[in-house]
Symmetry: C2
């Protein structure tokens, strides 16, 4: 936990917040704070700063927060993900938030098992704490927005629609050409990355995505598990966006 995240409503007058439960335990037993110490604090979707420990009780730690750093920029990447197995998705939530994604759209696809939609891993009460865990690991405050789509075609045709100017859409498909095509994402915000089910998108899905502005990318000759592919592609995409920005001439 590299950043203690609070809900916006938790901060009282003059930035006082009382941590309880897991966060209090972490501050007391892992960070081993004493009154007067300062810890990194942030507000979900809001600013970051420092919290000074003003009291330590049995199951509570009271902080006086000065949140002087503005909210981080929202992540430049959105994710359209064919719903993975519940076990895989459970592992993914924190990792996705840690890597930074603006939106997580979970969708049905031909090779998604229908019963995957019945899992409690799709309940906000389950995934929200996992997303927050990832943000606290990475030191970010921007909570990914999650939506669940049981029908792929209306999602692509009606909700996404034609590619808006200035955006970029990529679809990962095993065996497709390398990720070198990630170059040239400069200035495109957000980038929407689509990752298919374990068995891949079917021909209809790929064609539909192609007609809605998605360029196909791959990861070389290796076929990766969904969770590995998500982390690998998000890392590559963030790095490509940074590289493009670094390479762009000033002004």
């Amino acid at each position: 936990m590299n950043l203690i995240l609070c809900e916006p409503g938790e901060l009282g007058a003059e930035g006082i917040v009382t941590l309880t439960g897991v966060r209090a335990q972490h501050v007391r037993t892992v960070l081993r704070v004493r009154p007067g110490d300062r810890v990194r604090v942030g507000v979900i979707d809001g600013p970051k700063g420092r919290g000074e420990v003003i009291a330590i009780e049995d199951d509570a730690v009271v902080l006086a927060c000065a949140l002087d750093d503005p909210a981080p920029d929202p992540p430049a990447v959105d994710l359209l993900l064919a719903l993975p197995r519940p076990k895989v998705l459970r592992r993914l939530w924190a990792q996705l938030a840690a890597l930074g994604v603006g939106r997580i759209m979970l969708t049905n696809a031909d090779r998604v098992e229908r019963n995957y939609f019945d899992t409690h891993v799709l309940d906000e009460a389950t995934y929200r704490p996992l997303l927050i865990e990832g943000l606290q690991q990475a030191g970010d405050t921007r909570l990914p927005r999650v939506s669940i789509h049981r029908q792929f075609r209306p999602l692509v045709e009606d909700e996404l629609g034609p590619l808006p100017d200035g955006e970029r859409r990529l679809v990962a498909h095993p065996g497709a050409s390398s990720v070198l095509t990630l170059a040239g994402t400069s200035g495109h915000r957000p980038v929407l990355l689509a990752i298919g089910p374990e068995g891949g998108w079917n021909a209809f899905e790929l064609e539909l995505l192609g007609r809605h502005g998605f360029t196909t990318i791959g990861l070389g000759s290796r076929t990766l598990r969904t969770d590995t592919a998500c982390v690998a592609l998000l890392a590559l995409l963030h790095e490509a966006l940074c590289r493009d920005e670094g390479a762009a001439p000033p002004g």
Copy 2:
């Protein structure tokens, strides 16, 4: 399972192999083969090819294999990893093999808990099947070589020693400059990537690695969990190596 892997000793005369257990079950119930069908087959650390189904029995599938594709090149990246928590390491084995690493050196470090060394996740009987699972996912045959080092300093000073000509060494450290320094790895084989414990390397360890030719790299401002960092950095490194090769002038 995109490739069925066999032990070298399993292949009999004329390439006949009898699959049992998990592999037979996969071929029968997931691939749903019939006699005459062909499946992708490989030999651990050896060639790949096709296996024709010549018999299906209750708990066995007999294949006649023609292994015409040479063994894949060994991965260009080796990993020096501070021993992570057993739960994290268990998740990592298959992912590391799927991404492709030549060697996995697991080491002690100041911020590694001593009891992490007592786990059965470090037993070859536990990790070898997980590595093979990752190879079967990715379609590779090159089994990573694993070694366990309870003392960091002798590992770096005596076993690794000075940086050999033509190799490259990188150490990941949170908050260090970006991975842009991955550029210029062209022609360096292998690249040895060192990834520290959750709390990071300590100053002595970083200094020791620096004196033995390791260049510090980071992943931007985000601090990632060990498993996320491993996958992200290996993906970036493989892509940088491909990019360099693609960019290098012929001859």
